[in-house]
Symmetry: C2
Subunit: 259 residues, 2 copies
DNA sequence: CGTTCGCTTGATACCGCTCAAACTGCGTGG
DNA sequence: CCACGCAGTTTGAGCGGTATCAAGCGAACG
Protein backbone atom coordinates (compact mmCIF):
# COMPACT_ATOMS: atom_id res chain seq x y z
CA UNK A 1 0.00 0.00 0.00
CA UNK A 2 1.27 3.40 -0.94
CA UNK A 3 0.91 6.23 1.51
CA UNK A 4 2.96 9.30 2.34
CA UNK A 5 4.28 7.78 5.56
CA UNK A 6 5.84 4.77 3.89
CA UNK A 7 7.20 6.95 1.09
CA UNK A 8 8.79 9.16 3.72
CA UNK A 9 10.32 6.31 5.69
CA UNK A 10 11.61 4.77 2.45
CA UNK A 11 13.86 7.79 2.10
CA UNK A 12 15.71 6.72 5.23
CA UNK A 13 15.83 2.93 4.95
CA UNK A 14 14.76 0.25 2.51
CA UNK A 15 11.52 -1.19 3.88
CA UNK A 16 10.48 -4.75 3.12
CA UNK A 17 7.02 -5.62 1.90
CA UNK A 18 6.26 -6.97 5.36
CA UNK A 19 7.25 -3.63 6.87
CA UNK A 20 5.01 -1.60 4.61
CA UNK A 21 2.14 -4.02 5.19
CA UNK A 22 2.52 -3.77 8.95
CA UNK A 23 2.68 -0.01 8.65
CA UNK A 24 -0.47 0.11 6.54
CA UNK A 25 -2.29 -2.14 9.05
CA UNK A 26 -1.19 0.03 11.93
CA UNK A 27 -2.81 3.15 10.51
CA UNK A 28 -6.24 3.67 11.97
CA UNK A 29 -9.20 4.88 9.92
CA UNK A 30 -8.65 8.19 8.12
CA UNK A 31 -10.10 11.22 9.82
CA UNK A 32 -10.90 14.44 7.99
CA UNK A 33 -10.33 17.82 9.65
CA UNK A 34 -11.34 21.21 8.31
CA UNK A 35 -8.90 24.05 7.77
CA UNK A 36 -8.13 26.30 10.75
CA UNK A 37 -9.25 23.71 13.26
CA UNK A 38 -7.06 22.59 16.13
CA UNK A 39 -6.06 18.95 15.74
CA UNK A 40 -4.52 18.86 19.19
CA UNK A 41 -4.79 21.56 21.82
CA UNK A 42 -2.13 22.68 24.25
CA UNK A 43 -2.54 20.76 27.49
CA UNK A 44 -4.11 17.71 25.86
CA UNK A 45 -3.00 14.26 26.90
CA UNK A 46 -1.66 12.81 23.66
CA UNK A 47 -3.02 9.27 23.48
CA UNK A 48 -1.89 8.36 20.00
CA UNK A 49 0.44 9.29 17.21
CA UNK A 50 -1.23 11.33 14.50
CA UNK A 51 0.01 10.87 10.96
CA UNK A 52 -0.76 13.41 8.27
CA UNK A 53 -1.93 11.65 5.11
CA UNK A 54 -3.00 14.74 3.22
CA UNK A 55 -2.93 18.49 3.75
CA UNK A 56 -0.71 20.66 5.91
CA UNK A 57 -0.72 21.20 9.64
CA UNK A 58 1.42 23.26 11.98
CA UNK A 59 2.59 23.10 15.56
CA UNK A 60 2.28 26.45 17.26
CA UNK A 61 2.34 28.28 20.52
CA UNK A 62 0.24 31.32 21.19
CA UNK A 63 0.66 34.04 23.80
CA UNK A 64 -2.07 35.69 25.80
CA UNK A 65 -1.62 38.90 23.82
CA UNK A 66 -2.20 37.14 20.53
CA UNK A 67 1.36 36.73 19.34
CA UNK A 68 1.69 33.36 17.69
CA UNK A 69 4.64 31.32 16.54
CA UNK A 70 4.35 28.32 14.28
CA UNK A 71 7.27 26.15 15.39
CA UNK A 72 7.08 23.52 12.70
CA UNK A 73 5.07 22.40 9.72
CA UNK A 74 3.61 18.94 9.27
CA UNK A 75 3.37 17.86 5.64
CA UNK A 76 1.89 14.62 4.30
CA UNK A 77 3.83 11.70 5.76
CA UNK A 78 4.82 13.64 8.86
CA UNK A 79 3.90 12.46 12.34
CA UNK A 80 3.51 14.26 15.59
CA UNK A 81 6.45 12.63 17.38
CA UNK A 82 6.55 8.84 17.27
CA UNK A 83 6.98 8.93 21.07
CA UNK A 84 4.59 11.70 21.91
CA UNK A 85 2.27 9.33 23.74
CA UNK A 86 4.85 9.07 26.53
CA UNK A 87 3.96 12.59 27.61
CA UNK A 88 1.11 13.57 29.85
CA UNK A 89 0.52 16.98 28.40
CA UNK A 90 1.06 18.67 25.07
CA UNK A 91 3.24 21.76 25.43
CA UNK A 92 1.96 23.17 22.16
CA UNK A 93 -1.04 22.94 19.87
CA UNK A 94 -1.38 21.60 16.35
CA UNK A 95 -3.65 23.26 13.83
CA UNK A 96 -4.83 22.17 10.40
CA UNK A 97 -3.52 24.85 8.05
CA UNK A 98 -5.45 23.33 5.15
CA UNK A 99 -8.11 20.63 5.25
CA UNK A 100 -6.21 17.63 6.57
CA UNK A 101 -6.61 13.88 6.43
CA UNK A 102 -5.19 12.13 9.48
CA UNK A 103 -4.69 8.58 10.60
CA UNK A 104 -3.83 7.54 14.13
CA UNK A 105 -1.48 4.90 15.42
CA UNK A 106 -1.97 4.02 19.05
CA UNK A 107 1.01 4.09 21.36
CA UNK A 108 0.72 0.35 21.87
CA UNK A 109 0.70 -0.36 18.13
CA UNK A 110 3.63 1.98 17.63
CA UNK A 111 5.68 0.09 20.17
CA UNK A 112 4.73 -3.21 18.54
CA UNK A 113 5.76 -1.95 15.12
CA UNK A 114 9.16 -0.96 16.35
CA UNK A 115 9.86 -4.04 18.38
CA UNK A 116 8.88 -6.31 15.47
CA UNK A 117 11.05 -4.64 12.85
CA UNK A 118 14.58 -3.34 13.32
CA UNK A 119 14.22 -1.50 10.05
CA UNK A 120 11.11 0.36 11.13
CA UNK A 121 12.73 1.15 14.44
CA UNK A 122 15.66 2.69 12.63
CA UNK A 123 13.42 4.52 10.19
CA UNK A 124 11.52 6.21 13.00
CA UNK A 125 14.74 7.11 14.76
CA UNK A 126 16.12 8.68 11.61
CA UNK A 127 12.86 10.50 11.11
CA UNK A 128 13.18 12.02 14.58
CA UNK A 129 16.73 13.08 13.84
CA UNK A 130 15.63 14.74 10.61
CA UNK A 131 12.82 16.54 12.41
CA UNK A 132 15.29 17.77 15.01
CA UNK A 133 17.60 19.00 12.25
CA UNK A 134 14.77 20.94 10.63
CA UNK A 135 13.94 22.52 13.96
CA UNK A 136 17.57 23.57 14.38
CA UNK A 137 17.56 25.07 10.92
CA UNK A 138 14.49 27.10 11.83
CA UNK A 139 16.34 28.31 14.91
CA UNK A 140 19.18 29.46 12.67
CA UNK A 141 16.76 31.17 10.31
CA UNK A 142 14.96 33.04 13.05
CA UNK A 143 18.16 33.95 14.81
CA UNK A 144 20.50 34.96 12.03
CA UNK A 145 18.90 35.11 8.64
CA UNK A 146 17.49 38.30 7.12
CA UNK A 147 13.88 38.45 6.02
CA UNK A 148 14.88 37.64 2.46
CA UNK A 149 17.13 34.70 3.34
CA UNK A 150 14.60 33.40 5.81
CA UNK A 151 11.74 33.28 3.35
CA UNK A 152 13.97 31.86 0.62
CA UNK A 153 15.21 29.15 2.95
CA UNK A 154 11.74 28.10 3.98
CA UNK A 155 10.59 27.89 0.38
CA UNK A 156 13.61 25.72 -0.46
CA UNK A 157 12.85 23.48 2.50
CA UNK A 158 9.19 23.10 1.62
CA UNK A 159 9.93 22.31 -1.99
CA UNK A 160 12.54 19.72 -1.14
CA UNK A 161 10.45 18.07 1.57
CA UNK A 162 7.66 17.67 -0.92
CA UNK A 163 9.93 16.52 -3.73
CA UNK A 164 11.21 13.85 -1.37
CA UNK A 165 7.81 12.24 -1.03
CA UNK A 166 6.84 12.71 -4.66
CA UNK A 167 4.59 15.73 -4.19
CA UNK A 168 6.62 18.14 -6.31
CA UNK A 169 6.25 18.51 -10.04
CA UNK A 170 9.78 19.44 -11.05
CA UNK A 171 10.52 22.92 -9.71
CA UNK A 172 6.95 23.47 -8.68
CA UNK A 173 4.95 22.23 -5.70
CA UNK A 174 1.93 23.02 -3.54
CA UNK A 175 2.35 25.91 -1.11
CA UNK A 176 -0.95 26.44 0.64
CA UNK A 177 0.33 28.70 3.41
CA UNK A 178 -1.18 32.16 3.52
CA UNK A 179 1.03 35.17 4.11
CA UNK A 180 -0.17 35.43 7.72
CA UNK A 181 0.81 31.76 8.14
CA UNK A 182 4.26 32.44 6.71
CA UNK A 183 4.56 35.41 9.04
CA UNK A 184 3.78 33.26 12.07
CA UNK A 185 6.29 30.66 10.93
CA UNK A 186 9.06 33.13 10.18
CA UNK A 187 8.53 35.36 13.19
CA UNK A 188 7.49 38.39 11.20
CA UNK A 189 4.42 40.34 10.15
CA UNK A 190 2.35 39.48 7.13
CA UNK A 191 2.98 42.96 5.76
CA UNK A 192 6.69 42.34 5.73
CA UNK A 193 6.28 38.85 4.28
CA UNK A 194 4.31 40.40 1.47
CA UNK A 195 7.10 42.86 0.67
CA UNK A 196 9.83 40.24 0.91
CA UNK A 197 7.88 37.96 -1.37
CA UNK A 198 7.68 40.73 -3.91
CA UNK A 199 11.45 41.09 -3.73
CA UNK A 200 11.85 37.39 -4.49
CA UNK A 201 9.44 37.66 -7.38
CA UNK A 202 11.06 40.77 -8.80
CA UNK A 203 14.41 38.99 -8.67
CA UNK A 204 12.90 36.25 -10.81
CA UNK A 205 13.58 33.61 -8.17
CA UNK A 206 10.13 32.28 -7.42
CA UNK A 207 6.55 32.36 -8.59
CA UNK A 208 3.86 31.91 -5.99
CA UNK A 209 0.20 32.15 -6.80
CA UNK A 210 -2.98 30.23 -6.24
CA UNK A 211 -1.34 28.11 -3.56
CA UNK A 212 1.40 26.89 -5.83
CA UNK A 213 5.11 27.60 -5.64
CA UNK A 214 7.56 27.43 -8.53
CA UNK A 215 11.27 27.82 -8.08
CA UNK A 216 12.19 29.81 -11.19
CA UNK A 217 15.91 29.84 -10.50
CA UNK A 218 16.65 27.11 -7.95
CA UNK A 219 20.42 27.59 -8.01
CA UNK A 220 20.26 31.27 -7.18
CA UNK A 221 17.50 30.71 -4.65
CA UNK A 222 19.49 28.01 -2.85
CA UNK A 223 22.50 30.22 -2.92
CA UNK A 224 20.62 33.22 -1.55
CA UNK A 225 19.17 31.08 1.23
CA UNK A 226 22.47 29.31 1.81
CA UNK A 227 20.36 26.21 1.57
CA UNK A 228 22.33 23.05 2.25
CA UNK A 229 19.93 20.13 1.80
CA UNK A 230 22.10 17.62 3.64
CA UNK A 231 20.51 18.61 6.93
CA UNK A 232 17.39 16.70 5.93
CA UNK A 233 19.45 13.48 6.13
CA UNK A 234 17.77 11.54 3.38
CA UNK A 235 20.00 8.69 2.32
CA UNK A 236 18.45 8.25 -1.09
CA UNK A 237 18.37 11.11 -3.57
CA UNK A 238 14.93 12.53 -4.05
CA UNK A 239 15.63 16.08 -5.10
CA UNK A 240 12.93 16.88 -7.61
CA UNK A 241 13.67 17.09 -11.30
CA UNK A 242 14.62 20.61 -12.21
CA UNK A 243 16.57 21.14 -9.02
CA UNK A 244 20.08 19.86 -9.26
CA UNK A 245 21.82 18.98 -6.03
CA UNK A 246 24.38 21.61 -5.24
CA UNK A 247 27.86 20.69 -6.36
CA UNK A 248 30.13 19.65 -3.53
CA UNK A 249 32.22 22.70 -2.90
CA UNK A 250 33.27 24.09 0.46
CA UNK A 251 30.11 25.97 1.25
CA UNK A 252 32.13 28.79 2.72
CA UNK A 253 33.54 29.73 -0.67
CA UNK A 254 30.25 30.76 -2.19
CA UNK A 255 29.24 34.37 -1.75
CA UNK A 256 25.64 35.16 -1.01
CA UNK A 257 23.45 36.39 -3.83
CA UNK A 258 22.41 40.00 -3.62
CA UNK A 259 19.29 41.40 -5.16
CA UNK B 1 27.37 5.77 40.96
CA UNK B 2 26.32 9.38 40.82
CA UNK B 3 26.78 11.33 37.63
CA UNK B 4 24.83 14.08 35.92
CA UNK B 5 23.44 11.72 33.30
CA UNK B 6 21.79 9.41 35.79
CA UNK B 7 20.53 12.39 37.79
CA UNK B 8 18.99 13.74 34.62
CA UNK B 9 17.34 10.49 33.60
CA UNK B 10 16.03 10.05 37.14
CA UNK B 11 13.88 13.11 36.55
CA UNK B 12 11.98 11.23 33.88
CA UNK B 13 11.73 7.70 35.27
CA UNK B 14 12.71 5.83 38.42
CA UNK B 15 15.88 3.94 37.58
CA UNK B 16 16.78 0.74 39.39
CA UNK B 17 20.24 0.15 40.81
CA UNK B 18 20.92 -2.20 37.92
CA UNK B 19 20.05 0.57 35.47
CA UNK B 20 22.38 3.11 37.03
CA UNK B 21 25.15 0.51 37.20
CA UNK B 22 24.76 -0.36 33.56
CA UNK B 23 24.75 3.31 32.70
CA UNK B 24 27.91 3.96 34.68
CA UNK B 25 29.63 1.01 32.99
CA UNK B 26 28.58 2.24 29.57
CA UNK B 27 30.32 5.57 30.00
CA UNK B 28 33.78 5.53 28.47
CA UNK B 29 36.78 7.21 30.05
CA UNK B 30 36.39 10.91 30.79
CA UNK B 31 37.93 13.24 28.25
CA UNK B 32 38.84 16.83 29.02
CA UNK B 33 38.38 19.56 26.43
CA UNK B 34 39.50 23.17 26.67
CA UNK B 35 37.18 26.13 26.33
CA UNK B 36 36.43 27.39 22.82
CA UNK B 37 37.46 24.13 21.21
CA UNK B 38 35.20 22.28 18.81
CA UNK B 39 34.11 18.95 20.27
CA UNK B 40 32.52 17.89 17.01
CA UNK B 41 32.89 19.65 13.68
CA UNK B 42 30.25 20.07 11.00
CA UNK B 43 30.59 17.26 8.49
CA UNK B 44 32.04 14.78 10.99
CA UNK B 45 30.79 11.23 11.02
CA UNK B 46 29.42 10.86 14.55
CA UNK B 47 30.66 7.50 15.77
CA UNK B 48 29.54 7.71 19.38
CA UNK B 49 27.24 9.52 21.75
CA UNK B 50 29.00 12.22 23.72
CA UNK B 51 27.78 12.89 27.24
CA UNK B 52 28.68 16.10 29.04
CA UNK B 53 29.80 15.33 32.58
CA UNK B 54 31.00 18.81 33.46
CA UNK B 55 31.06 22.22 31.83
CA UNK B 56 28.88 23.73 29.11
CA UNK B 57 28.90 23.11 25.39
CA UNK B 58 26.80 24.45 22.54
CA UNK B 59 25.61 23.27 19.17
CA UNK B 60 26.02 25.94 16.54
CA UNK B 61 25.99 26.70 12.87
CA UNK B 62 28.19 29.34 11.34
CA UNK B 63 27.86 31.15 8.01
CA UNK B 64 30.64 32.02 5.63
CA UNK B 65 30.29 35.69 6.56
CA UNK B 66 30.83 35.00 10.24
CA UNK B 67 27.26 35.09 11.47
CA UNK B 68 26.83 32.39 14.05
CA UNK B 69 23.82 30.87 15.74
CA UNK B 70 24.01 28.68 18.80
CA UNK B 71 21.03 26.38 18.38
CA UNK B 72 21.15 24.68 21.76
CA UNK B 73 23.14 24.44 24.93
CA UNK B 74 24.49 21.21 26.42
CA UNK B 75 24.70 21.26 30.19
CA UNK B 76 26.10 18.54 32.44
CA UNK B 77 24.04 15.39 31.93
CA UNK B 78 23.10 16.34 28.38
CA UNK B 79 23.94 14.12 25.42
CA UNK B 80 24.37 14.88 21.77
CA UNK B 81 21.38 12.88 20.57
CA UNK B 82 21.12 9.31 21.82
CA UNK B 83 20.66 8.26 18.18
CA UNK B 84 23.15 10.54 16.52
CA UNK B 85 25.37 7.65 15.50
CA UNK B 86 22.76 6.67 12.90
CA UNK B 87 23.77 9.65 10.84
CA UNK B 88 26.66 9.82 8.43
CA UNK B 89 27.37 13.48 8.76
CA UNK B 90 26.93 16.12 11.43
CA UNK B 91 24.85 19.03 10.15
CA UNK B 92 26.20 21.32 12.85
CA UNK B 93 29.20 21.68 15.11
CA UNK B 94 29.52 21.45 18.89
CA UNK B 95 31.85 23.71 20.79
CA UNK B 96 33.03 23.67 24.39
CA UNK B 97 31.83 26.98 25.82
CA UNK B 98 33.74 26.34 29.04
CA UNK B 99 36.30 23.63 29.76
CA UNK B 100 34.28 20.46 29.42
CA UNK B 101 34.55 16.89 30.65
CA UNK B 102 33.04 14.36 28.29
CA UNK B 103 32.40 10.65 28.27
CA UNK B 104 31.47 8.64 25.24
CA UNK B 105 29.01 5.81 24.78
CA UNK B 106 29.45 3.85 21.58
CA UNK B 107 26.46 3.34 19.36
CA UNK B 108 26.60 -0.40 19.99
CA UNK B 109 26.63 0.05 23.77
CA UNK B 110 23.79 2.54 23.54
CA UNK B 111 21.65 0.04 21.67
CA UNK B 112 22.50 -2.64 24.22
CA UNK B 113 21.55 -0.38 27.09
CA UNK B 114 18.18 0.32 25.61
CA UNK B 115 17.37 -3.22 24.59
CA UNK B 116 18.27 -4.52 28.06
CA UNK B 117 16.17 -2.07 30.04
CA UNK B 118 12.70 -0.86 29.20
CA UNK B 119 13.15 1.87 31.76
CA UNK B 120 16.32 3.22 30.19
CA UNK B 121 14.70 3.03 26.80
CA UNK B 122 11.83 5.14 28.05
CA UNK B 123 14.17 7.55 29.83
CA UNK B 124 16.09 8.24 26.64
CA UNK B 125 12.88 8.68 24.68
CA UNK B 126 11.60 11.16 27.22
CA UNK B 127 14.92 12.94 27.15
CA UNK B 128 14.63 13.34 23.39
CA UNK B 129 11.13 14.70 23.76
CA UNK B 130 12.32 17.21 26.34
CA UNK B 131 15.18 18.31 24.10
CA UNK B 132 12.73 18.78 21.24
CA UNK B 133 10.48 20.85 23.49
CA UNK B 134 13.39 23.10 24.45
CA UNK B 135 14.24 23.57 20.81
CA UNK B 136 10.65 24.57 20.08
CA UNK B 137 10.73 27.03 22.93
CA UNK B 138 13.86 28.60 21.47
CA UNK B 139 12.04 28.88 18.17
CA UNK B 140 9.26 30.74 19.94
CA UNK B 141 11.75 33.01 21.70
CA UNK B 142 13.58 33.91 18.52
CA UNK B 143 10.40 34.35 16.56
CA UNK B 144 8.12 36.22 18.89
CA UNK B 145 9.73 37.34 22.12
CA UNK B 146 11.24 40.78 22.61
CA UNK B 147 14.88 41.12 23.62
CA UNK B 148 13.88 41.45 27.27
CA UNK B 149 11.53 38.47 27.29
CA UNK B 150 14.00 36.41 25.32
CA UNK B 151 16.87 36.93 27.72
CA UNK B 152 14.63 36.48 30.74
CA UNK B 153 13.26 33.25 29.32
CA UNK B 154 16.71 31.81 28.67
CA UNK B 155 17.87 32.66 32.18
CA UNK B 156 14.80 30.95 33.62
CA UNK B 157 15.45 27.90 31.48
CA UNK B 158 19.10 27.67 32.43
CA UNK B 159 18.36 28.04 36.10
CA UNK B 160 15.67 25.40 36.06
CA UNK B 161 17.67 22.95 33.99
CA UNK B 162 20.49 23.20 36.48
CA UNK B 163 18.21 23.04 39.50
CA UNK B 164 16.82 19.82 38.06
CA UNK B 165 20.15 18.07 38.22
CA UNK B 166 21.18 19.57 41.52
CA UNK B 167 23.52 22.24 40.20
CA UNK B 168 21.60 25.23 41.49
CA UNK B 169 22.01 26.72 44.93
CA UNK B 170 18.53 28.02 45.61
CA UNK B 171 17.88 30.94 43.30
CA UNK B 172 21.46 31.05 42.17
CA UNK B 173 23.40 28.91 39.70
CA UNK B 174 26.43 28.90 37.41
CA UNK B 175 26.07 30.94 34.23
CA UNK B 176 29.40 30.82 32.39
CA UNK B 177 28.15 32.20 29.06
CA UNK B 178 29.75 35.43 27.94
CA UNK B 179 27.64 38.19 26.45
CA UNK B 180 28.82 37.30 22.93
CA UNK B 181 27.72 33.70 23.65
CA UNK B 182 24.33 34.89 24.80
CA UNK B 183 24.09 37.02 21.68
CA UNK B 184 24.77 34.02 19.45
CA UNK B 185 22.19 31.97 21.31
CA UNK B 186 19.51 34.64 21.28
CA UNK B 187 20.08 35.85 17.74
CA UNK B 188 21.22 39.31 18.74
CA UNK B 189 24.37 41.36 19.15
CA UNK B 190 26.43 41.40 22.31
CA UNK B 191 25.93 45.15 22.55
CA UNK B 192 22.20 44.68 22.77
CA UNK B 193 22.51 41.79 25.19
CA UNK B 194 24.53 44.06 27.41
CA UNK B 195 21.84 46.71 27.41
CA UNK B 196 19.03 44.24 27.96
CA UNK B 197 20.93 42.69 30.84
CA UNK B 198 21.23 46.08 32.42
CA UNK B 199 17.48 46.50 32.13
CA UNK B 200 16.96 43.21 33.97
CA UNK B 201 19.41 44.26 36.66
CA UNK B 202 17.90 47.71 37.06
CA UNK B 203 14.50 46.08 37.46
CA UNK B 204 15.91 44.05 40.33
CA UNK B 205 15.14 40.78 38.62
CA UNK B 206 18.56 39.18 38.33
CA UNK B 207 22.15 39.48 39.41
CA UNK B 208 24.80 38.18 37.06
CA UNK B 209 28.48 38.53 37.76
CA UNK B 210 31.61 36.43 37.81
CA UNK B 211 29.87 33.68 35.87
CA UNK B 212 27.11 33.27 38.41
CA UNK B 213 23.41 34.01 38.01
CA UNK B 214 20.98 34.80 40.81
CA UNK B 215 17.27 35.16 40.27
CA UNK B 216 16.44 38.01 42.63
CA UNK B 217 12.73 37.95 41.95
CA UNK B 218 11.87 34.61 40.35
CA UNK B 219 8.13 35.21 40.24
CA UNK B 220 8.40 38.46 38.37
CA UNK B 221 11.10 37.08 36.11
CA UNK B 222 9.02 34.02 35.20
CA UNK B 223 6.08 36.27 34.59
CA UNK B 224 8.05 38.64 32.39
CA UNK B 225 9.39 35.73 30.38
CA UNK B 226 6.02 33.98 30.34
CA UNK B 227 8.04 31.02 31.52
CA UNK B 228 5.96 27.88 31.81
CA UNK B 229 8.26 25.14 33.12
CA UNK B 230 5.99 22.29 32.11
CA UNK B 231 7.59 22.18 28.67
CA UNK B 232 10.64 20.55 30.22
CA UNK B 233 8.47 17.51 30.96
CA UNK B 234 10.09 16.42 34.20
CA UNK B 235 7.79 14.12 36.03
CA UNK B 236 9.34 14.66 39.42
CA UNK B 237 9.50 18.14 40.93
CA UNK B 238 12.99 19.54 40.97
CA UNK B 239 12.37 23.26 40.91
CA UNK B 240 15.12 24.74 43.03
CA UNK B 241 14.46 26.09 46.49
CA UNK B 242 13.56 29.73 46.26
CA UNK B 243 11.63 29.25 43.07
CA UNK B 244 8.07 28.19 43.64
CA UNK B 245 6.28 26.44 40.84
CA UNK B 246 3.82 28.79 39.27
CA UNK B 247 0.31 28.36 40.56
CA UNK B 248 -2.03 26.66 38.14
CA UNK B 249 -4.03 29.49 36.65
CA UNK B 250 -5.10 29.83 33.06
CA UNK B 251 -1.90 31.31 31.70
CA UNK B 252 -3.88 33.63 29.51
CA UNK B 253 -5.16 35.56 32.50
CA UNK B 254 -1.78 36.82 33.64
CA UNK B 255 -0.63 40.10 32.17
CA UNK B 256 3.02 40.47 31.27
CA UNK B 257 5.27 42.41 33.61
CA UNK B 258 6.46 45.75 32.34
CA UNK B 259 9.60 47.44 33.45
C1' DC C 1 -25.21 39.88 -1.29
C1' DG C 2 -22.91 40.99 2.56
C1' DT C 3 -18.97 39.59 5.17
C1' DT C 4 -14.72 37.88 5.96
C1' DC C 5 -10.10 36.83 4.78
C1' DG C 6 -6.05 37.43 2.32
C1' DC C 7 -3.27 40.51 -0.45
C1' DT C 8 -1.30 44.97 -1.36
C1' DT C 9 0.40 49.62 -0.59
C1' DG C 10 1.74 53.89 1.99
C1' DA C 11 3.34 56.57 6.04
C1' DT C 12 5.54 56.58 10.23
C1' DA C 13 7.70 54.70 14.50
C1' DC C 14 10.91 52.11 16.99
C1' DC C 15 13.71 48.16 18.27
C1' DG C 16 17.86 46.35 17.71
C1' DC C 17 22.09 46.78 14.64
C1' DT C 18 26.50 48.98 13.30
C1' DC C 19 30.49 51.30 14.16
C1' DA C 20 33.55 53.17 17.39
C1' DA C 21 35.96 53.69 21.52
C1' DA C 22 37.05 53.37 26.33
C1' DC C 23 37.20 50.60 30.35
C1' DT C 24 37.95 46.35 33.21
C1' DG C 25 40.11 42.28 34.87
C1' DC C 26 43.30 38.93 34.23
C1' DG C 27 46.95 36.11 32.54
C1' DT C 28 51.57 36.33 30.60
C1' DG C 29 56.06 37.48 29.73
C1' DG C 30 59.85 40.72 30.19
C1' DC D 1 56.63 43.94 39.64
C1' DC D 2 55.17 46.12 35.88
C1' DA D 3 53.91 46.35 30.92
C1' DC D 4 51.37 44.47 27.86
C1' DG D 5 47.80 42.11 25.40
C1' DC D 6 43.54 40.16 25.11
C1' DA D 7 38.83 39.05 25.92
C1' DG D 8 34.83 40.62 27.78
C1' DT D 9 31.98 44.57 29.26
C1' DT D 10 30.17 49.05 28.83
C1' DT D 11 28.77 53.38 26.63
C1' DG D 12 27.52 56.62 22.78
C1' DA D 13 25.79 58.15 18.18
C1' DG D 14 23.44 57.21 14.20
C1' DC D 15 21.19 54.17 11.05
C1' DG D 16 18.25 50.70 9.03
C1' DG D 17 15.22 46.80 8.90
C1' DT D 18 11.02 45.45 10.44
C1' DA D 19 6.83 46.61 12.97
C1' DT D 20 2.70 49.29 13.35
C1' DC D 21 -1.25 51.54 11.80
C1' DA D 22 -4.34 52.45 8.20
C1' DA D 23 -6.81 51.88 4.08
C1' DG D 24 -8.42 49.83 -0.27
C1' DC D 25 -9.22 45.88 -3.19
C1' DG D 26 -10.54 41.34 -4.82
C1' DA D 27 -11.99 36.67 -4.16
C1' DA D 28 -14.14 33.16 -1.59
C1' DC D 29 -17.94 31.88 0.97
C1' DG D 30 -22.08 31.46 3.74
Amino acid sequence: MDNPLTRKLQTYVRLTGADTDRLADALGPARRIGARIDIVAEGDDPRAVNVVLDGWAGRYKQFADGRRQIVSLLLPGDTCDPNIFLLERMDHAIIALTPVTLAQISGRTMQDLRSRSETLEEAFHREMLAVAAIQREWTVSLGRRSALERLAHLLCELHLRQATIGLADGPSCPMPLTQPDLADALGQTSVHINRTLQDLRRAGLVALRSRRLTLLDPDRLWSLAQFDPTYLHHTRDHAGAGVRPREADPAAARPAVRL
